[in-house]
């Protein structure tokens, strides 16, 4: 039997020690009307080899970013995953450990989280980070809940250009608070309309969200948004792609009170969208309102420096119905992967990562500019992603480009400011000049209605 060590002799000896006859006697307290007779209707167990074969056959049925050249983004990116991330994160010392409540035997996990918090702080320019969140969308939801309860106001402003999946999650998480969600419109350039924001961000507003780069890949006028958004006391929540913080202004620099985002590009496989890695950072003032786990440095009884979970009086174990979050986990393994990734990258590598992303995106945008019949929907500065406006529905091109071995992008129908002909295209540091030429070729062919003969 898989993973269960008991021999019949073990079972007999243990039943005797307990003083009962049979295994059935162990379940004597189950009332007859709640018992399952006849067992579970599931197939019999299989050997490791059979299960491996079955599941690897299913895996082989999938067509992935390893088989195609991927220009998909929208919050999850085809980024480099160093081998070191796999090696460290598969160590059972990290992988199979419990939440580090017993700090004396969890210093490895605790120090990694402390180092993760330090990385998040240095990237975002905000002093206090937590141990991580489920994903970027729930991190944003928690940030809004924090703002609503800290400010005791019931209006929040979300940009039209916010990732629509994150918006839905944020809306769900605010349902219980009766919060009014108001959309801030965009200009024709695809970024936030700062004048409209200035009018909307009144004394009743708990929070203003800016996503930078926004869902369309465009860099927002963050300074102006910060000034207008915070004028009447709202908290500024910055939702950021952490890879962009290699080159873009950090949330701390433009006065954000909270920074959240999705750190999957830091060494986490896309994995069909999960598990991912949300991050969460705040100003000193909000330290005691941060959701989730936090690790601090202290001393042990011999005066040696050591790490421990701290500020637990915020948590639901103690506050119960007074808690403002029910989070009692973090994405430990993925935070570890990201910490290893950032250690591998360093200051020099981070800079190169940012420049590589800018360069490859610019190369694609240049190609698009030269093809008659397609254009960039928005021309402003961008990071990682851009919107291509096609002559026909983007869905058609997505299908057409498959013949070139391309996963071409995410159609944007239904996204404010976009049409069904718009496609969100991500270009990461992994894309080569050849990949981008192939993309241009596919665009040419699509525009000219060429049959593909590969």
């Amino acid at each position: 039997m898989a993973y269960v060590p008991h021999t019949p002799e073990d079972v007999r000896a243990m039943l005797d020690a307990i003083g009962i006859e049979s295994v059935d006697d162990l379940f004597a307290t189950l009332p007859p009307d709640a018992r399952l007779d006849g067992g579970l209707d599931l197939p019999p167990g299989q050997s490791e080899e059979e299960v491996r074969r079955f599941l690897s056959d299913l895996a082989a049925e999938n067509i992935t970013q390893a088989d195609m050249v991927s220009f998909l983004g929208g919050g999850v990116y085809d980024s480099i995953v160093p081998a070191a991330c796999d090696a460290i994160s598969s160590r059972s010392e990290f992988l199979t450990a419990y939440t580090p409540y017993q700090a004396e035997v969890s210093q490895g996990t605790l120090q990694v989280i402390y180092e993760w918090q330090t990385y998040v702080s240095r990237l975002t320019g905000l002093p206090v980070s937590n141990a991580s969140m489920y994903d970027g969308s729930t991190a944003l939801g928690e940030a809004l809940v924090l703002a609503v309860s800290a400010r005791r106001k019931q209006k929040v402003l979300l940009p039209e250009t916010l990732n629509p999946r994150w918006r839905r999650v944020a809306r769900t998480m605010l349902q219980g608070f009766g919060t009014e969600i108001v959309d801030v419109p965009s200009t024709d350039e695809g970024t936030m309309d700062v004048e409209a924001l200035a009018e909307l961000a009144d004394g009743e507003t708990a929070a203003v969200v800016v996503q930078n780069p926004n869902y369309l890949g465009l860099i927002e006028p963050v300074e102006a948004i910060s000034t207008a958004g915070k004028a009447n006391g709202a908290l500024l929540i910055a939702a950021v792609n952490p890879a962009s913080l290699s080159v873009l202004r950090s949330p701390g620099e433009y006065g954000a009170d909270v920074a959240v985002g999705e750190a999957q590009p830091f060494g986490v496989y896309p994995g069909a969208g999960g598990p991912l890695l949300g991050f969460f950072a705040v100003t000193d003032k909000l330290t005691r309102r941060i959701p989730g786990r936090v690790v601090g440095r202290t001393v042990d009884r011999n005066g040696a420096g050591a790490y421990v979970l701290t500020l637990q009086t915020r948590e639901q174990h103690i506050r119960r119905e007074k808690a403002t979050s029910n989070i009692c986990s973090n994405q430990g393994v993925n935070a570890l992967r990201a910490t290893v990734y950032l250690a591998m990258l360093g200051r020099t590598g981070l800079r190169e990562l940012g420049e590589a992303n800018l360069q490859r995106l610019a190369a694609l945008r240049n190609e698009v500019a030269e093809i008659d019949g397609v254009e960039l929907a928005f021309a402003g500065p961008a990071f990682n992603e851009t919107v291509i406006r096609l002559p026909r529905p983007a869905r058609e091109f997505r299908g057409y480009a498959r013949q070139f071995g391309l996963l071409a992008g995410i159609p944007l129908d239904g996204v404010p400011g976009c049409t069904e002909n718009d496609l969100l295209v991500a270009v990461t540091e992994k894309r080569t000049a050849e990949d981008i030429e192939l993309y241009a070729e596919a665009l040419h062919g699509f525009v000219n209605g060429e049959e593909v003969d590969l």
Binding site: V51, S92, S121, T138, G271, G296, T298, T324, S329, L407
Partner: protein
Amino acid sequence: MSQPILPPTVCQRWLGVQQPSLFEKGSLGRRALEMPAWDGGEVAVDLPDEARRAEPADLPDLSEPEVMRHFTLLSNLNHHIERGMYPLGSCTMKYNPRLNEQVAAMPGFSQLHPAQDAGDMQGLLAALKLLEDSLCEVTGFDACSLIPAAGAQGEYLGMMVIRALHEANGDHDRTEILIPDSAHGTNPASVVLMGMKPRTLKSREDGRIDLDELRAAVGPQTAGIMITNPNTLGLFEKDIVEVARIVHEAGGRLYMDGANMNAIMGRARPGDMGFDVVHMNLHKTFSTPHGGGGPGAGPTCVTAELEPFLPGPRIEETDGFFDFVRVPGPGDIAIHAWMGNVGVCLRALAYILRNGGDGLRRVSEMAVLNANYLLKKIQGIMPVDHDDGCLHEFVASGRVFKQQSEVRTLDVAKRLLDFGVHAPTIYFPLIVDEAFMVEPTECETRESLDHFVAALEQIKREAESRPELLQTAPHATPVGRLDEAKAARDPDLRFLGPCNC
């Protein structure tokens, strides 16, 4: 019965010692991760200066060997399931099969982008559908959502679908959720976050629901009840069918916290008992790793009545083709950007396939056998007040130590660390004085259970002869007991410089 006597300082000595922070290591210009070369010629980049950060983030530059050593040395400071027993009550710290890891790492799964077409993911969707169906069979329900990323999120979703149902029925006054006082702290927290009102239900002395209290509490304001079954004392709710009848008659719905499913697989199913919704923790019952805090997953199963309120995307099969159904339900619930923790779900599926139906039943049987065996042995050392048919876990009380020599349960727990055994869950549930909550799981051998008992026996003797040894424990661990008050008083939450301690 003669057990080897462990000398007071034996323990599993640690390989590792404390490490300097990463931020004290490295040297500017050292490289580990480099970008692929670009052969596309010069490309002008349009990024205005005002968009650029003033200074690059101050990250240490390290070589790959330095990185590997740093994290490997840190890893040596952890207790983990492949090192020793982990009898944490309510946490189900069972062995995490290596096959699960292989499966989740298969590129056919791990390299999928969630925005790909369903046609690209037929193998994955077939696997997820199979997991949904298997979990429905284990729990006795009609539909399952794999999306909740953790137990707390599954519980939150469970409450959301109940609220959405009442809203859809125009029952806007049903805002009260009954929660027994023995419940986990996330239960009331989730209810409040949902905008509903928790109402505490006083349990009987054994943590089971008091039917008279329940009858007095239900009414037109009742939205539902949250029950952990078996409860946090490891006891089955004997009156559960009657509880369900009372709550349903009042118009409420029943949510079960499935944290303790490892006790009853193949023996009883929440759906058959009258529950309307249950969440499970794949990182407990279904052997996926805890990862030092996550990621886990909290799939949630519901009755057909509640299915329309589950979040999208739902997976549906038509003529052998699996497709996403993205239409949000009437409650318009979204709890994750994509499909939840898919990689965790794949691990759980591998576990279910390895075990099969009979194997899962065997898992629960042996988990309950191990717990009862330990209970019997520990009763000679510490009192167990509620020993009336414990299932997969039990709660002893450390009050004997306190009476004996001012040794607290915390001290006993810390001393256990010296014996290579992780501490049990302590001071929970709140309804037991000096609670010491033990869940061995089915994976432990009789020998390792005996080792645990021998360690406790020795600790009992030490409590009489050398209480200070316990009060200052642990001694064999990489660091000693920590100053937690200082950590909370002067939060030091990021590296600003070497520790000046």
